[in-house]
């Protein structure tokens, strides 16, 4: 077993194990922490696949942005210690079957379709190539992404602002 495969399995286990922790924990803070671990594992998998840039972006965007936002959400929605922890979920059996169905679909029907790529990891870093592609061939996509982000930011801000306005009007009314 090569070293790289060992690392792959290690990070895979980290990712999946953390995801399982999210699935089973009732504490939101634990869940956020486990999500952090899981996303880090994914970033490592990216790196192992030769996508170094993506690994970095993954860490920056998720851990720097999404996770902080989630934490903010956790704190915002905090009500009481009692409600801090989620009560027992409902109808587990039915809902667990559905993802299993998907896994089944994938394993039974999709995997045999895959062309086997057996090329070994021979090349050096693709960072340079990535950067070149972004600014040349995929530039329109890049622009669209920026635009999308702008729209999302404005939209989110608008949604948040209506809240503030409602609060204000409520306060005035009172």
């Amino acid at each position: 077993m090569s070293n790289i495969l060992f690392f792959f399995i290690f990070f895979s286990v980290q990712t999946i194990g953390s995801a399982v922790v999210i699935l089973f924990t009732r504490n939101v803070m634990y869940a956020v922490t486990a999500l952090l671990s899981s996303l880090l594992g994914v970033a490592a998998l990216f790196v192992l696949a030769g996508a170094d840039v993506l690994g970095v972006i993954q860490i920056i965007v998720y851990i720097g942005g999404v996770l902080v936002l989630t934490l903010f959400g956790v704190m915002y929605t905090y009500q009481s210690p009692k409600r801090y922890q989620e009560s027992i979920p409902h109808k587990k059996s039915v809902f667990i079957l559905i993802p299993l169905l998907f896994v089944l679909v994938l394993l039974v029907q999709a995997l045999p379709l895959l062309p086997m790529i057996d090329d070994p990891y021979q090349h050096a870093s693709k960072v340079e190539v990535t950067g070149m592609l972004w600014l040349t061939e995929y530039l329109p996509i890049f622009e669209w992404i920026g635009f999308l982000l702008l729209v999302v930011l404005i939209g989110a801000g608008w949604i948040g602002s209506t809240l503030v306005q409602e609060d204000k009007s409520k306060g005035e009314q009172v």
């Binding site: 809902f95 998907f102 679909v105 029907q109 379709l113």
Partner: protein, 677 residues
């Protein structure tokens, strides 16, 4: 032979006398209607006087009609029409019918006068006189009618009235039973009348008696012999019921449960006389064979009833048996063809039998008063007031009743100078004329002796000796001293009836009845002129009977006498009722029971079919329920499961929607990827 077409009788205009006769007929109808519907709203005395005066008026009118009638006059008018069928209704006024009218109204008047006092304090009094009126009216209808159809209607009315009067004190169980018995025996006989009527109408085409008589005497219509005999048999049978002949006579002794005046009327003038009357009217219909039957039946009846009277202790039942036996004489007379003799005996018998009943009734009345008075003194005498064993000694205390009784008694047993002797001699003589009837003649002569025996016995026990009730119940001694003559309303009828039993009332010749002036019709030459030995023989037999009774009566054991099987048999009406039971009733019940079983079997079959149908229905039901409905229910259940499972997904929860979407997505992937293979 084909039945004849209906012949239209000629209509005849009514004479003035017919309207008088109709008035006589309708007066009691009027009384009946008035008294029946006013009921208890008018007082007892008013009621009695109204009814009695009406009967008195009827008697006077009857006398007038009788005296006015010379030759028979017939009125015939249309009764109703049905298509080509014209029914007529006729009335015949001859010396025969009008004299019977006089007899009936005279007896009725006596009975009414008597009843005014006798029935005064009795229960249910308001119904008594209307029923009597109905009875008399129906009897007059029978007497006057010329149509057998009309006679049948009145015949049934007589039956109804007798039923009502016998069961007059219907609260008494015995009275109700006796009324029922009389009614049923009569109805059984009346069935024969209906059939006879139908046969006559079918084969002769008419029921007008006058017309029938001419048709038969002229032999213009030939009727098969079998039919003629059937008609005769049926007619005779029906009169056997009404006139209480063997074997139908068993109802008559029981009919003594009715009030005593009713018994007098029933025995003397109305009920039992009706049968004889109809037979006399239909005499021309009797064929030769039937005459023989009539003689024999009459003789047997006379003898059997007389024997039954020997050991009887019921004062009224003795008289009832004597009536039966006397009517047997009348039957014999009709059988010999001497209808005049029968009619003569009917007339004389009416008077002396009414007298006997009324005088015995006077004694019973007194007995009843004693019982009532002692009841007022709080002593209840549980005795039968009709029992001759409790009577005695009334000769001194009630001389009028006694002498009236003796007169009628003498007439009944046939002592010379009394009417009964004349009529009985006539019948015996007509029997003697025909040598084939020697045995019936012997029976009739024996009956004369037995009659003398039992009547003397009754006379002895009722009127002579000591008052035995007081001997048995010392508490009655006080009452015994108070016994006196009855009210004049009771005594007058007794005196009148006693007078009518004297022979010069009917014939001035003491030993010969050739000159019956009030009947206005000379009898055929029978009687003394045939044989001088006959009256001597009968008188001597009578005397033997009287003397025997006289000597036996004082020695007779009143209670606990040895019961020979013969007397038990006699007291049970010679087993006639048992025979009826065995011959008719038990077979009927057996047939009924057999039919019940048959019915049950049919029932079982039907039930089995029904059960089978029910079983099939259950099977079909089960199929329907579990197979068809089950399938339907299964489908419904499946749909419901599917529906509810889908419905459970759509509960407004985001996750449910997501899961649904994902399932569909997975399936789509599955399908898509399979396509790729």
């Amino acid at each position: 032979m084909n039945p004849l077409q209906h012949t239209d009788p000629m209509l005849l205009p009514a004479h003035f006398l017919h309207s008088v006769a109709l008035t006589i007929f309708f007066l009691p109808v009027l009384t009946f209607v008035i008294l029946f519907f006013t009921g208890k709203h008018i007082s007892t005395s008013w009621r009695s006087w109204l009814a009695t005066s009406v009967v008195g008026l009827m008697f006077i009118l009857s006398l007038y009609v009788h005296l006015s009638v010379d030759v028979p006059i017939i009125a015939r008018w249309s009764w109703f029409s049905m298509g080509t069928l014209h029914m007529t209704s006729g009335m015949v006024l001859s010396s025969f019918t009008t004299s019977m009218l006089v007899v009936v109204t005279a007896i009725a008047l006596m009975v009414h006068l008597y009843s005014m006092e006798y029935m005064k304090d009795r229960r249910n009094h308001s119904k008594f006189f209307p029923y009597l009126a109905l009875f008399i009216s129906a009897m007059i209808g029978i007497i006057l009618s010329d149509s057998l159809f009309n006679i049948f209607i009145f015949w049934e009315l007589v039956g109804l009235a007798s039923y009502l009067l016998i069961g007059f004190w219907y609260q008494k169980k015995e009275a109700a039973a006796a009324a029922k018995k009389a009614f049923l025996y009569n109805k059984a006989a009346d069935t024969a009348f209906v059939i006879a009527l139908g046969l006559i109408f079918t084969y002769y085409g008419t029921t007008e008696l006058t017309l029938l008589r001419t048709l038969i005497s002229s032999s213009s219509i030939l009727v098969p012999t079998g039919i003629a005999i059937s008609i005769a048999v049926l007619l005779v049978l029906s009169t056997f019921g009404k006139s209480a002949q063997f074997p139908f006579y068993v109802w008559l002794p029981d009919a003594m449960e009715g009030p005593t005046p009713v018994s007098a009327l029933l025995h003397a003038a109305t009920m039992v006389a009706a049968g004889i009357l109809v037979l006399i009217k239909c005499d021309f219909l009797l064929v030769e064979q039937m005459r023989w039957v009539l003689v024999w039946t009459g003789a047997i009846t006379a003898l059997l009833a007389a024997i039954q009277a020997i050991r009887c202790y019921d004062s009224k039942k003795i008289l009832a048996f004597s009536t039966v036996s006397q009517i047997g004489y009348m039957m014999m007379a009709i059988g010999t063809g001497n209808t005049s003799a029968a009619y003569f005996h009917l007339g004389t018998h009416a008077f002396f039998k009414a007298g006997l009943f009324l005088s015995v009734g006077a004694v019973i009345h007194t007995m009843h008063h004693i019982q009532q008075n002692s009841f007022k003194n709080k002593i209840y005498l549980e005795v039968d007031t009709l029992d001759i064993r409790l009577m005695g000694g009334f000769r001194k205390t009630m001389p009028i009743a006694f002498y009236a009784y003796v007169a009628c008694y003498a007439a009944l047993i046939g002592i010379p100078f009394f009417t009964g002797f004349l009529s009985k001699e006539t019948i015996l003589a007509s029997l003697l004329q025909n040598p084939t009837y020697s045995i019936p003649f012997g029976m009739a002569l024996t009956t004369v002796g037995i009659t003398a025996y039992y009547m003397t016995r009754q006379l002895y026990w009722m009127f002579l000796g000591d008052f035995r009730l007081a001997a048995l119940y010392p508490s009655c001694k006080e009452e015994q001293r108070k016994i006196k003559e009855n009210h004049w309303l009771i005594n007058i009828p007794l005196i009148v009836l006693a007078c009518t039993t004297l022979s010069f009332f009917v014939s001035f010749h003491p030993f010969h009845a050739s000159d019956i002036h009030w009947m206005k019709a000379p009898l055929p030459i029978v009687g003394g002129s045939t044989s001088i030995y006959l009256p001597i023989a009968s008188i001597s037999i009578t005397l033997i009977g009287v003397l025997l009774a006289w000597s036996m009566a004082s020695k007779e054991q009143l209670y606990n006498w040895k019961q020979y099987w013969f007397w038990t048999f006699v007291q049970q009406n010679y087993g006639i009722e048992k025979a009826v039971q065995f011959v008719f009733i038990i077979p009927s019940f057996l047939i009924a029971r057999g039919l019940t079983y048959l019915d049950k079997i049919i029932d079982m079959w039907v039930n089995a079919q029904a059960y089978l149908a029910v079983l099939l229905a259950h099977i079909v039901y089960a199929i329907d329920r579990f197979l068809i409905e089950g399938v339907l229910k299964g489908i419904v259940f499946l749909i419901r499961i599917v529906g509810s499972s889908f419905r459970s997904l759509i509960q407004g929860q985001v996750q449910s929607y997501i899961s649904t979407t994902l399932i569909v997505l997975a399936l789509m992937f599955w399908w898509y990827l399979r396509q790729l293979h």
